[in-house]
Amino acid sequence: MRTCLRNTTAIFGREMASFFLSPIAYVVISLFLLANGWVFYFNANFFQESPQQIDFVIRALFNWVPFWTLLLAPVITMRLFAEEKRTGTLESLMTAPVTEFQVVAGKFLAAEAFYLLIWLTLLLHLVILEVLGNPDWGPVIAVYVATAALGALMLSLGLLASALTRNQIVAVIVSLVGSFLLLVADMVRRLFPDDSQADRFFDFVGILGHFGNEFDRGVVDLRFIALYLIGASVFLFFTVKVLEARKWR
């Protein structure tokens, strides 16, 4: 147990450091800050006259969570295994006394932490709103929880895609397409009769259809959080299996 924790944190630490050593991280963060700065500025101006609309400003920022996650997750995860496979470092990693699970866990947690770090930059905007007005923090916390869970789902999918190939471009495309399908899964329901089993299933699974509901009520809908986390566990499980596959006979 202690060695498991030690190895996972070691890999977590290395991956975190290497995020910040790669130019991609800075490009992504800059893009994110720029786009959200613009969204914030535009909306803050728009609602300047009516301070009671402050929640709409916040909402305008977090409306983009599924879109940003779709973009961020593949970029954050594409490198994680594909690069190690291409350069051969996976061999030195897997011939050290670490298990596949520890490697996957360390890398996933690093990706999730980096992803959340990007989202935490929005606190800057929220602090400005706090100074100017009186935003409701309940929905913000709820939407952060939902964002973390959605991130876990798409990052784990990206990790799986990265483990399947030694080409980062292929990894990005696979995880982008996969994540996109998860986002719009509720569109499929039109193929089925109203209120049938399949109709309700795809309505439930489709992320775009329900994401952001938390914000309306300020309540975390645990069913969706559970859906994302179960999905994430499945993808991580398969990532471990893909790494172990070289040992199958």
């Binding site: 450091a17 050593l21 051969g88 470092t89 061999e91 050290a96 006394p97």
Partner: protein, 342 residues
């Protein structure tokens, strides 16, 4: 220390290893030789627990690599082929990470890293980013990594590929210093690289053990393969044709085989194979002098494993049916950056 028995491994329809068996005694330095694609890396990957065998037994220090892969990985230091290192990390940072995942206790980590840096001779670059290191230094950083945690078994896969002769020499003396109580398995495709450090040599060929002998014995068997390369001109007006030159060379005592390697211009390059241990250089010189021809090159060619193998096993490489000129050419390329055989 390392015990391998009846190891078999398939990759799809390809049989990469075919009932490979050998033993490496504790504290020995053993050379693991074979042409590219012979199964060296596959064997090593099985030893290090990276791949499982289809059949056969592998134990290292009594630990079964198939059932306790983690246990085996704890006691070996492994330098994979091509020395994969994270290019964005600094040397010390990289070693710190490796020490952590290798389970070197926190209190000993600093000392262990300092020791590895010193033994591999990379203290002076410990703050450098590994991606900017020269090939020789990269190799040594890889060795420092393999030495972390003071492993009882060291497995090095092609550690000297791409090094210049001076670096190869340094690497060799480094290895000699590391021996003693450590068991070292050193893979390479160049015989000259191991014969000076390894007491025993295992030769693998197309997935099978072709020879497993002491270096001395092997050397004796291979020594007779020294060849001579001579560039001869039969005069500026080319009054003597290459076939005539060839015929004259063939008549020299002790010559087994003569091949015309290249025949452009007035000079023609010939490769001569002697019988036994004979040195033909003098005979060639006398012949050229007596006939009044000109000579502009006379060299002993280093024995390539390919040829050593033909001699040891009496088997012509079936895969390599390129023309002889091309084969010589690539053999020469393979020797670039390697020390010529002493």
């Amino acid at each position: 220390m390392i015990h391998v028995s009846q190891l078999t491994k398939h990759f799809g329809p390809v049989r990469a290893l075919d009932r490979v068996s050998f033993d490496v005694p504790e504290g020995a330095i053993v050379g693991f030789l074979g042409p590219n694609g012979a199964g060296k890396t596959t064997t090593i990957r099985i030893l290090t627990g990276f791949l499982p065998p289809d059949e056969g037994e592998v134990t290292i220090a009594g630990i079964d690599a198939r059932t306790d892969s983690l246990g085996v990985r704890r006691i070996i230091g492994y330098l994979p082929e091509g020395v994969p290192i994270y290019p964005e990390m600094r040397v010390r940072e990289y070693l710190r990470f490796r020490a952590r995942i290798k389970g070197v206790p926190r209190a000993e980590r600093k000392a262990a890293i300092a020791r590895a840096l010193a033994s591999a001779g990379v203290e002076d670059v410990n703050r450098q980013i590994t991606g900017t290191l020269s090939k020789g230094y990269r190799q040594r950083v890889g060795l420092a990594d393999a030495l972390l945690g003071n492993p009882r078994v060291l497995i090095l896969d092609e550690p000297t590929v791409g090094l210049d002769p001076e670096q190869v020499r340094q690497f060799r003396s480094l290895l000699r210093g590391l021996g003693g109580d450590r068991t070292i398995l050193l893979s390479t495709h160049v015989l000259s690289e191991v014969e000076q450090v390894a007491a025993r040599i295992i030769i693998i060929r197309r997935g099978r053990i072709a020879a497993h002998d002491t270096t001395q014995n092997l050397r004796k068997r291979v020594g007779s393969l020294d060849r001579i390369r001579a560039e001869i001109s039969g005069g500026s007006k080319a009054e003597v044709s290459p076939p005539q030159l060839l015929a004259a060379l063939e008549k020299l005592p002790g010559v087994v085989e003569v091949r015309l390697e290249r025949g452009n211009g007035p000079f023609h390059a010939f490769i001569l194979r002697p019988q036994g241990d004979q040195d033909l250089r003098e005979a060639v010189f006398h012949l050229v002098r007596d006939r009044g021809w000109s000579l502009r090159e006379l060299t002993r060619l280093p024995v390539t494993l390919e040829e050593a193998f033909i001699d040891i096993v009496g088997e012509r490489p079936a895969v390599d049916n390129r023309p002889i000129v091309e084969r010589e050419h690539s053999a020469a390329e393979g020797h670039q950056g390697k020390e010529p055989r002493a």
